[in-house]
Amino acid sequence: MTNRLLPALSILVVILVFITCVQEIDFSKENTGQNTLVVSGTFTDGPGPHILRLTRPGNIDKQAFKPVPGALVSLSDDQGNRYDYQEILSLSDTTLFYQLDNVQGIAGREYQIEIRLPDGETYRSRPEKMPQRVLIDSVAVRAEYFTSINANGTIVKEPFAYLYAHTTSPAQTTGNYLRWDAEAVYIFNEVLKIYHPIPPPQKQCFIPNRLSDQLVPLADLNIYQPGAAIITQVGKRRIDRSFEHRIGFLVHQRAISREAYEYWQKIGQLISPTGTIFDVPPARVYGNVENETDPDRPALGYFEVSAVDTARVFTRNGLLGDDFLLQVNPYCNYDWSKWPPVNHPECDNCLLLEGSTLQKPEWWE
């Protein structure tokens, strides 16, 4: 009896335990707000170029957000100066953006942009004061294994590189807010083309490497004592073949306004929910760009006025820390069964990689 009862009971219990169910749901049919303007741009105390993107919301899976051409964009300050942006069509990635060159923000001045769309709608950002720059001390990369449990209940251990910014809190912390963003570029070396009668030069490509987890690192310096050491994780990247040769990280540390800080704080909450029924209900986030034609339809996104300092760090596999000995196997090998005799086509031509270029980034050493 017991032998028969227990399996039956177990089946029943398994049914009960797995009663909770998660399914993907699609609200794309409710695709409201597609005509909303998205403004994303920064104006800094650096020489530029200062980039502004105007797009429309789109399918989030494809991440193809339609650019808005033909707009007249201008920047003005509280001194009565006015500068016009140029519309640029990037040939490399066929994106469209607006660019302002040869203008450098001055701390203490207020800046705002005005956008006139071809259909006559006018948008204007609320004025933002250029903050004082806060210097970044250094950036560092540290590698760790990240342990997680997948849906099957199996423990998964994956190596990750974590990028940290080190900053010393300035003497005057009141009203200071920081935001960081980072970019990564890695080197990809083609194989030596010994299969050519006259081997061409072996190319070295530079490939932008997206930091896999989106996060919005922020700091409110008001809560720190002057001189306090602030260490902030500003990026995270799974260690893969991009670490085989050399990878560089550039970190921008932006001093921003309180309004910008609060905006990015909301964005941070929005992109990192826990997925439980106890989540704070999310909401649409509006930035600082108002629609003067129809005030009930403000723009999404933010026009940020920030003072930027940058720092960079380079690393490679095996140099990620004293106790981290992971070695990534070479990605490219010869494969004489096909032509060209390499195991991956990009090993023969590294420009095949998405975003690849032979041009070394300006910040590369």
Partner: protein
């Protein structure tokens, strides 16, 4: 010569002999040739047998448990008994045979054997068979005055109805006459009828009591006393006691729902655990945001807008284990009344509804008990006289043991999780003198939920009450009740450097004093006063364990005290018109300790705009509010079976549950009104039409309502409410309006009973700030979280016989509003989901079918042990009803929307309870 017959063969022969001796072929017996006549269209089979036994030389032998007890609907004139039984019984798998001289045995076909019949006859001979009294009216005779008959055209007959055992008045009983319509008893069990001199038949009905028929001879004006018997057979099963307010036709109030405890137990339920609050969801106008959500929404109100009391003890948390079960123990509950429309002036403090749960008194004459177990929980109760007929006790406890199921799971997180609850209720009742009762009770419940080593909740409710009720003379009823209790919630992270306990809660004290003057001049007047004190416990963040790096933090909360006085009168203007008028005045005082910030005028409240902070000491008044709360209700009976009603209420609420989660969680905090958090004030209007048919066999009603509430706290987008000592920076004083129509069709008798209801309702909120950037949805009205325009309920009970019945429950609700990502955009380097306006989209509709089978052996008179077993299947067709929508990155890192169905499978369950 000795003949040796084997023992087994002896038994067989003996059995056969007895069988043929006891039973004779049916068709050949003269008893079956009896020609009988009678109108049994409105009688049960047992009633028909009893009647036949009185009028014809026939005796029926049967087990009452196996006979159907619905009306047989049969009118026979001059038919043979054989033909009658042949028509009636086979459809129920029953058969019959002659026994003894003029006897007829009724039994199941499979039971027609010598041993069964011998046992059955023996039990009848030994008087061990008790007829189900509730099927047969108690017949009494009364007279007023002495002959000769009065010469007046009509005379006034006054009466009182009391419980036969306890001598307590029975309020709310219905008295119907054959000539002068019907009336209902008042709170002292009294009624008055204007009758013509002569003979009248009074039929008296009251839930939980045996129907009583009184043959009344009226000679002159006078008074009568009628004693009603409780349904003895149902003591263990606890039939609900009725409530005058719930009499749809005669009660003055609109929107009052009474849910029978039997119905609560009959309903197919999650994990087989019958539940008071979940059962409310089958009533029109009551809804929830989803499975696993605490509380309930009434006519478009928030869950904190419901006043929930058990014997006048307020309950701030009504849920066990994340909302799957409620804290009320159905085994101890006497009545459950939900006031969703008209709310009498004696209730206050919440703006949407009142759920009034009454525990029964313990048995004053005998000890009884019960014990039961289901898949998730076990329970036990005991009651009896400590001092016979003077002092009784009632106690019940429930305890869950669901961890064993979690341990069997494959997922490590589930395996390491834990969830349990327990609750205890006790009540002691003392009869003080002839007309007084003193009772005291206590409640304690505790819950624990931990998800792996990630997070957990623990919450505890304790409360006690003491009450003295006294009847003075003929017309005055007083009651004095004091209660005290505490609610403690803790959210915790169990392990690691970030381990912490975050706790909140409140404690309270209340005193209620009421006096009712029940004048026979058509008035029921009630006055009273109430006082309560609420101490909101500080929100505290504490490190948990020695390894925690968490810094402790305490947020001091303000306290409050409220007093109220009320008076009301239910005035029966005429036989057709009853008017209720009530007035309540409530006053609230916010008391320290607490700090109140002052802000720069003309700019949004924030940490950056504080100009000063006022410090208030212990019990120092920092704010006061108050106001009148008029209540009016009118009942106009158009004809005996039709009534229309209107009601208007104004209510004020000084305590608010501050939450911005989809479902209420234990980390939500209760706040009293203060300088910035103004009291909610609602104005409710309701009208209804009520129609009964065939002596209440059918009840139909249509009700419409509209409610507007001011100063409902609404949270701003991305509000941070936890550990926040300046909530005014996160909240907006919003408005709420709800309206709808409810249709109910109910069948109370027959093989099929139950109801079908449809509710159309809307509930909207507006959160408009004087600073447009803070307004939600730019200040426009938007659907509330629980706005579900269409709701349809079908509840049906199919009784095969009194001890065996099926129940079915089908629920349909429009999917509730959600705020969900409709597309995305890029800002900076971040791809962001673009959410709709708040509550602008809806999750798919909710629907679910449940079925249950109950074998109820508490009615059995043949077995010594009484028990019930309830087998149920929840969510029969495994609908994955979505609860919430959230946003998560998939394996490629791209953001996607997911819907969470809390229950996505069929949930079978079994629950066995023994009674003694």
């Amino acid at each position: 010569m000795n003949l040796s017959i084997p023992k087994a063969v002896q038994n067989v022969l003996l059995g056969c002999c007895c069988f043929f001796f006891l039973l004779r072929p049916a068709s050949a017996q003269p008893i079956f040739d009896l020609e009988i006549s009678g109108d049994y269209r409105n009688a049960t089979i047992i009633e028909m047998f009893l009647d036949l036994e009185q009028r014809y030389p026939v005796k029926f032998y049967y087990d009452p448990d196996i006979l159907p007890y619905y009306k047989v609907g049969f009118d026979c004139q001059g038919r043979r008994l054989f033909n009658l039984l042949q028509t009636l019984l086979p459809p129920h798998n029953l058969t019959f045979a002659a026994a003894r001289d003029n006897g007829v045995v009724i039994c199941r076909k499979v039971d027609l054997n010598g041993e069964y019949v011998r046992n059955l006859l023996q039990k009848w001979d030994d008087n061990k068979i008790e007829l189900p009294e509730f099927l047969t009216p108690l017949k009494l005779e009364r007279q007023t005055g002495m002959p000769p008959t009065s010469s007046a055209a009509t005379v006034l007959v006054e009466g009182v109805i009391k419980d036969e055992k306890t001598q307590d008045p029975v309020p709310g009983a219905t008295i119907r006459t054959d000539t002068a319509g019907g009336v209902t008893t008042d709170r002292l069990g009294r009624f008055r009828l204007t009758l013509k001199p002569g003979e009248h038949l009074l039929k008296i009905q009251y839930l939980g009591y045996r129907e009583t028929e009184v043959r009344l001879l009226v000679y002159q004006a006078g008074t009568i006393e009628i004693l009603m018997q409780t349904r003895a057979l149902e003591l263990a099963a606890v039939e609900i006691q009725g409530n005058k307010a719930a009499n749809k036709q005669t009660a003055v109030a609109t929107g009052v729902e009474l849910l029978s405890t039997q119905t609560i137990k009959d309903l197919p339920s999650f994990m087989g655990e019958s539940d008071v609050v979940k059962s409310l969801l089958i009533l029109p106008g009551v809804s929830t945001v989803g499975e696993g959500a605490s509380g309930f929404n009434v006519r478009g109100g928030n869950i904190d807008q419901n006043l929930v009391v058990q014997d006048e003890l307020p309950f701030y948390n009504t849920s066990h284990v994340l909302g799957f079960f409620s804290v009320f123990n159905p085994d101890l509950v006497r009545s459950t009344t939900l006031y969703k429309g008209h709310i009498p002036a004696r209730f206050g403090g919440r703006v949407a509804s009142v759920l009034d749960v009454k525990l029964r008194d313990g048995n004053f004459s005998e000890w009884h008990g019960s014990a039961g177990a289901g898949l998730a929980a076990a329970k036990a109760s005991v009651e009896g006289p400590v001092w016979k007929e003077k002092l009784s006790v009632l106690a019940g406890a429930r305890m869950s043991y669901s961890d064993w199921m979690l341990k069997l799971a494959k997922l490590p997180d589930v395996k390491q999780s834990s969830a349990w609850f327990n609750d205890v209720n006790a009540k002691i009742s003392l009869r003080s003198g002839k007309n007084g009762t003193i009772s005291a009770g206590g409640h304690r419940s505790e819950d624990y939920f931990r998800f792996a080593q990630e997070f957990g909740y623990q919450w505890k409710t304790t409360g006690a009450n003491i009450s003295w009720r006294q009847t003075w003379g003929e017309s005055v009823l007083t009651s004095l009740t004091a209660t005290s209790g505490q609610l403690q919630n803790t959210y915790f992270q169990p392990e690691g450097a970030g381990a912490f306990d975050l706790s909140n809660g409140l404690s309270f004290y209340t005193v209620n004093a009421q006096a009712s003057w029940l004048s026979l001049a058509n008035h029921e007047i009630q006055i009273g006063g109430q006082w309560n004190r609420t101490n909101v416990l500080p929100q505290q963040l504490r490190p948990r364990g020695g390894d925690s790096d968490i810094l402790p933090k305490t947020i001091q909360q303000e306290n409050g005290a409220e007093w109220a006085a009320f008076a009301d009168d239910e005035f029966k203007i005429s036989e057709k018109i009853t008017l209720y008028g009530g007035l309540r005045y409530s006053h609230f005082r916010t008391a320290g300790p607490g700090n109140v910030r002052l802000y720069e005028p003309g700019v949004p409240f924030s940490d950056y705009t504080v100009t000063d902070t006022l410090v208030f000491g212990d019990n120092e008044t920092s704010q006061t509010y108050g106001g009148l709360e008029p209540r009016v209700s009118l009942n106009v009976r158009l004809a005996d079976q039709h009534a229309i009603k209107f009601s208007y209420n104004r209510l004020r609420q000084y305590q608010h549950l501050i939450s911005n989660t989809t479902a209420a969680t234990p980390s939500d905090t209760w706040q009293v009104s203060n300088r910035y958090l103004r009291p909610q004030v609602s104005d409710s209007y309701a009208a209804g039409w009520f129609f009964t048919k065939e002596n209440k066999r059918w009840e139909n009603s249509v009700e419409v309502y509209y409610r507007h509430t001011d100063d409902v706290p609404a949270y701003e987008d991305f509000a941070s409410l936890l550990l926040n000592d300046h909530l005014e920076t996160e909240l907006i004083a919003g408005q709420q309006r709800s309206y709808g129509a409810e249709f109910l069709f109910r069948k109370n008798e027959g093989r099929w009973t139950g109801w079908a209801s449809y509710t159309w309702s809307r509930s909207f909120q507006q959160a408009r700030s004087q600073y447009p950037a803070l307004s939600v949805n730019r200040g426009a009205w938007f659907p509330a979280n629980f706005d579900q325009p269409h709701q349809a309920i079908l509840f049906a009970k199919y009784a095969i016989n009194p001890a065996l019945y099926w129940t079915f429950n089908f629920t349909y609700r429009t999917g509730r509003p959600v705020t969900a990502p409709v597309n995305g955009y890029q800002t900076g380097s971040v791809v962001v989901p673009n959410y709709s306006d708040r509550n602008n989209l809806r999750i798919p509709d909710y629907h679910r079918l449940d079925a249950g089978l109950t074998i109820d052996k508490t009615r059995s008179k043949l077995a010594g042990l009484k028990w019930t077993i309830n087998l149920s299947v929840y969510n029969l067709y495994a609908r994955k009803n979505p609860f919430s929508v959230y946003f998560k990155r998939d394996r490629t890192g791209r953001p996607k929307a997911y819907q969470l169905a809390v229950i996505g499978s069929v949930i079978p369950a079994a629950n066995l309870v023994f009674y003694w």
